[in-house]
Subunit: 341 residues, 2 copies
DNA sequence: CTGTTAGCGCGTTCAT
DNA sequence: ATGAACGCGCTAACAG
């Protein structure tokens, strides 16, 4: 049997389609008994308004899109993403929105954008300058940018104080006496673009700390890796083969975890032989042994704020931006370098 | 300015709407030059077919719904979920489907179901007997059930050998000499229903091991907790207050992690004072200290298979079911009880 | 006040 | 390469 439509119900109840629609959406327009009769028949027939047809006229899908710069399974290699989603969802849930995970189709974010039937987007890690965003704007859909860099812009966004957090973390290592610091930076999803957004901010923070401490910043000690445990491990191993370091300054906890793997592989002990610091303060940071020194950022909160901003702008038009604070968490994975002990 | 529609393009190009549609969907129907002209104008105007209107006629949304029995942010407290999603998404991505996270609306899964504009559903942790599923079936949408218990049923499903895995894990503890075993079971999202599905299977497995070892099974040593780290911790603390145990048999790694927390809180050392075993073999299992003895299941694979099954049935009609294997992973968190040392 | 008629929204598709 | 009908539910205008 084919799907039960509003017409089926109308026919069966000897009323017009309008009446059926009213029974569901404007109960007041109908006399209680016809209303009940319609509802009853609808229930019997198992009628459910088709969400797509409904959207056609209401212009509302009831879902919001989460725009990722990579495939979901790639992004999720970093527990950061599920965590932001937790935050987003907690708000979506309260407002009865569903979340659509939108990742590039055949490499094209735009293509994916065009296909998504949503009321608005939350974008993670993409900058306003990127084509896709301009596409959303053209479609005149509300957007909130998360981790897009703190450039002033018309587009509402939620960021954290990346630069400050990174700076404090680097300063911490330098103050411990480290001079040979391996920086593991997040490789952008698009390697061809100049460094910007979050990776850029954090790198700038690191650099600032070096400058303020009067220690030369060495580009050749910056290595890039996609934010996965494996990539972190490999890049650290590669770097260690070429140079000698007393500390690893990783731009993400998941990269720091990779560094732990590398250290273990090399028989180096943390923090005696090598200090390691991360960024994010994901739940895993506290599970590691020794616990990871890292920069705490309110990940869930970030997601929640973004969702709140978006949902609000769905009702009242575009809202503002927010910057959340970071905080250095010194734990067991960092200590003075061997030479200084 | 309002959204650019197909009519705008048609007008501007002096062709019919049909021609514009052809230019995008059946390029062969048009002479190359009109086709190019249309496409060019469409590009200029920034025209993108409205995904909703498109769905109206094609009956295809390009997304599949992931049906969760709880709010996303609740479910994600267990890293198991992001991991299944990784698996699902890897397949969805390859087939250009997006994933819609669908969780109950005001407590009603059905309500959420009715609103979701998707081509099919993957349901996690809900049984066929549950109302919502029957609703999908009425809507005649393809569904694949994950972790729904291995009852024979017409609905395609992907399961693992929960019972066997659980049995082997319990047997392991019993063979080590444990007699006072605290069982931490997963509390179903719906406490009113009789135990079934995955929790039931695993519990049966535990019970079997006791029976086969000739050791009395004690219901009063089974405690239920929602699958979160915090709930695991609390329930173990509560149990420990009332009784004395040498081992914890947790139905999920995340609950085992909670047990670690409890052990630490109580000043108990693992495995000397207390042995702990989990289920799932999530990445965190290997990060814990000592590493967690657990039952490995191919979580990503499970998601991937489910997605494959669903997408196939989207094309060729309903497919079969699959059961994946589990494997006991003995690691440092289990050892002989004190008394037997 | 209760209920109907008619047309819309946007892109696809059949017959011509 | 076109015009018209269609999908499904919503709603403005209108009649009893």
């Amino acid at each position: 049997m084919a799907r039960v439509t509003i017409s089926d119900v109308a026919r069966r109840a000897n009323v017009s389609k309008t009446a059926v629609s009213f029974a569901f959406n404007s109960p007041g327009q109908l006399s209680p008994d016809t209303r009940d009769r319609i509802l009853h028949i609808a229930g019997e027939l198992g009628y459910r308004p088709d969400p797509v047809a409904r959207t056609m006229t209401t212009k509302r899908t009831g879902s919001i899109g989460l725009l990722l710069p990579q495939a979901v399974h790639t992004a999720f290699a970093n527990p950061f993403y599920p965590l932001v989603i937790e935050g987003i969802s907690s708000v979506c849930d309260a407002h009865e929105y569903s979340l659509l995970l939108v990742s590039p189709v055949r490499g094209s974010v735009e293509e994916a954008l065009g296909r998504a039937a949503v009321d608005g987007f939350i974008s993670i890690g993409m900058d306003e300058a990127e084509l896709p965003i301009s596409h959303i704007l053209r479609r005149e859909m509300p957007v909130v940018l998360v981790d897009a860099g703190d450039r002033e812009g018309e587009t509402p966004r939620v960021n954290i104080s990346d630069r400050v957090g990174a700076r404090e973390c680097a300063r911490h290592l330098l103050e411990l006496g480290h001079r040979d610091v391996l920086v593991v930076a997040i490789q952008s999803y698009d390697e061809t673009r100049p460094l910007q957004g979050v990776p850029f901010e954090r790198l700038s923070g690191y650099q600032q700390a070096f400058e303020q401490a009067g220690i030369p910043w060495r580009e050749d000690r910056v290595f890039f890796a996609r934010p996965t445990r494996e990539a972190g491990r490999e890049v650290v191993l590669a770097a260690m083969r070429k140079g000698s370091y007393t500390a690893v300054l990783a731009m993400a906890d998941i990269l720091a975890l990779g560094a732990y793997d590398a250290a273990q592989h090399l028989g180096m002990r943390i923090p005696c032989d090598i200090s390691i610091a991360g960024f994010d303060d994901l739940p895993i940071a506290g599970l590691l042994h020794p616990p990871l020194t890292t920069v705490a950022q309110p990940v869930r909160e970030k997601g929640a704020r973004a969702a709140t901003l978006l949902i609000r702008s769905l009702q009242d038009g575009p809202g503002g931006s927010e910057v959340l604070e970071t905080q250095l968490c010194v734990r067991g994975s960092t200590g003075p370098p061997r030479s200084a002990m």
